[in-house]
Amino acid sequence: MNDVLIRVEDLTIGWDGVVLQAGVSFEVERGDIFVLLGSSGCGKSTMMRHMVGLENPISGRVMIAGHDPSKRDVGAPPFGVMFQSGALLASMTLWENVALPLQGWTDLPPDAIDAIVQAKLRLVGLQGTAAQMPSELSGGMKKRAAIARAMVLEPALIFLDEPSAGLDPVTAAELDRLILGLNDNLGLTVVVVSHDLESIATIGKHCIMLDRESKSIIAAGDPRELSKRSDDPRVRSFFHREPLEAAR
């Protein structure tokens, strides 16, 4: 029997009277690496913001482990989120950023917090940078630090918004390896927003493709299979980096 962790039911999202996606439904199973695909402006990141409860949908609902994330009160979060820019708190050092959820939601003593923070920073390859401010870090380092912060409370689910966007190929590949490692070794469920084809092919186990024109899901399944076998020209044009006219 499938162990569904996230259930998105008939979700319509948008802002200022503009509907980005209408009546979208899908499920994410526990232990999956689930990729939200689609061209720019189709509402991938907005969909993720709804899934983590930062926005209220026009209609429909999102349930994570049976709970509506938008109705969550203050307290330890049941999932971690990495934003596209990293969104590290600029007034805090890297150590303080990663330690913040531990200080807020656990009663761990300071030396235990330090041990966990240092371990998480080592895990994402940022050992020796704990005292640095976010402004002193490169884009890739900020994203890694944001992943460390998102994982520090050992959540079972993590959301990553464009983890490889704007990174050089080597750093992007290292991030992919890190995500795969977390999924394999810790059983972490990962929801990734991306349009990086190489990254999708490397890490994605399941995906859905959102379409800007039809405001709906136009493909779902294993991204490698979709890339090879989809008959939909919109899907083919995306995976093969072709103009839509050529794919038709």
Binding site: R49, V52, G53, L54, R72, V74, G75, A76, P77, F79, G80, V81, F83, Q84, S85, A87, L88, L89, A90, S91, L100, P101, G104, W105, A146, R149
Partner: protein, 394 residues
């Protein structure tokens, strides 16, 4: 030629381009349809001349007529020139004139396609100018929306405050002391200087008037009461508004546009408890202390002028001040200053958290925070003064 003179530089640049190497000739085909024959090399470097010619030839064409752009004689064309031709085609089609780019060589046709010169032109959406009444309506709705946001924010802060009273551990107390230091201790030098000068100037302006009536000693009464009841709290609030209020709005605005607020929310922290309450409490606590310093410095300014320029002894001035200024006068000022502190923190934080639209939005909200706060300070001051008068404080 003067280096950097843009007009001369442009003229020199134009000379290097040489004369335009294109020709436009109106013609009619066998069926009487109008067309414009384009010949030669159409380049961006001669775009101005090309546009003038195109406009001249297309000006008299009427709805229902045809005016094709015949590209058969075009040897070469670049993107800038093609942009002008496709724009003219679209404009003429929207006016009801038949216009196509025809007989282009293969290489030119590719550029026509790239610039969408061969796709159907959509109907032009007419932009209606916004009328005065419409503008007034929009502005009113904008103000109503802002008021709604402010009221909602005040409600949320109240709820957050009550929640912190019930569960004190959920507030971000670590932020309190550094914020008090930033808005209080760091502001002390400027509070000292400004209030001393305000007391000094007020005394300088008042002393000759009082001296004329032989009432010089009452300078101590005037400066003492004006400082502790009005000038001390108000001047301190204005300084703190410009210093800390603007900083709060800019700081929270930057955090909002950089998704830091969203990150806090996803980590389970409520921005109001984490960011707003510590700032509000810090300002409410620090403002009375700064005001006490301001009061002392304002009276010192008056004392300096009285003892240096008037025939008043230091002891006489201090005695008169002690007689005139009571504890209730000082308390009035301190209560006001605490209210000012709360207003500065809440308005600045509300404006910061309402920021949208990147760096420009941060600037706009910071300005709005300072202006709104200054306006509110005067309103609160007036209301509090009337209230204290109503309670019987003269």
């Amino acid at each position: 030629m003067r280096a950097g003179d843009p007009a001369r530089s442009l003229a020199a640049f134009r000379r290097t381009l040489g004369a335009p190497r294109f020709e436009l000739e109106p013609a009619r085909d066998a069926e009487g349809r109008g067309r414009l024959m384009l010949r030669g090399r159409l380049a961006f470097s001669h775009a101005a001349a090309l546009w003038r010619e195109l406009r001249k030839h297309s000006m008299g064409v009427q709805r229902g007529q045809t005016f094709d752009l015949d590209m058969a004689g075009v040897e070469s064309i670049d993107g800038g020139a093609m942009a002008l031709l496709t724009h003219l085609r679209a404009e003429l089609q929207q006016r009801g004139v038949g216009c196509e780019l025809v007989h282009a060589a293969d290489s030119v046709q590719q550029l026509v396609h790239m610039y969408s010169g061969d796709v159907a032109v959509g109907r032009r959406k007419r932009r209606r100018p916004i009328g005065t009444l419409d503008q007034l309506g929009r502005a009113t709705m904008g103000i109503v929306h802002e008021v709604q946001l402010v009221l909602a924010f005040l409600g949320q802060v109240t709820v957050a405050g009550l929640a912190v009273v019930r569960a004190p551990g959920t507030a971000n107390w670590r932020e309190l002391t550094p914020t008090m230091e930033r808005v209080g201790a760091d502001a002390t030098p400027i509070v000292v200087l400004i209030n001393f000068l305000v007391g000094l100037v007020t005394a300088l302006q008042s002393a000759p008037q009082l001296e004329r009536f032989g009432a010089s000693i009452f300078l101590a009464d005037l400066i003492g009461l004006a400082t502790v009841r009005e000038l001390g709290p108000l001047m301190t609030a204005i300084i703190v508004c410009g210093r800390s209020g603007a900083a709060f709005a800019a700081e929270l605005g930057s955090m909002k546009v950089n998704e830091e607020i969203d990150a806090l929310r996803t980590m389970g922290f409520a921005p109001l408890r984490f960011l707003v309450l510590p700032r509000a409490l810090a300002l409410m606590a620090v403002m009375p202390l700064l005001t006490l310093i301001a009061d002392a410095m304002g009276m010192l300014g008056g004392f300096t002028i009285a003892t240096l320029t008037l025939d008043i002894t230091p002891i006489g001035y201090l005695n008169e001040t002690q007689k005139a200024v009571g504890l209730d006068d000082v308390m009035q000022g301190l209560v006001k200053s605490s209210m000012f502190g709360l207003a500065i923190a809440l308005i600045s934080c509300q404006q910061g958290l309402a920021t949208t639209g990147g760096a420009e939005g941060v600037g706009r909200r910071t300005t709005a925070a300072v202006v709104t706060t200054l306006f509110s300070l005067i309103l609160i001051d007036a209301a509090a003064t009337i209230f204290f008068r109503g309670l019987g404080y003269e």
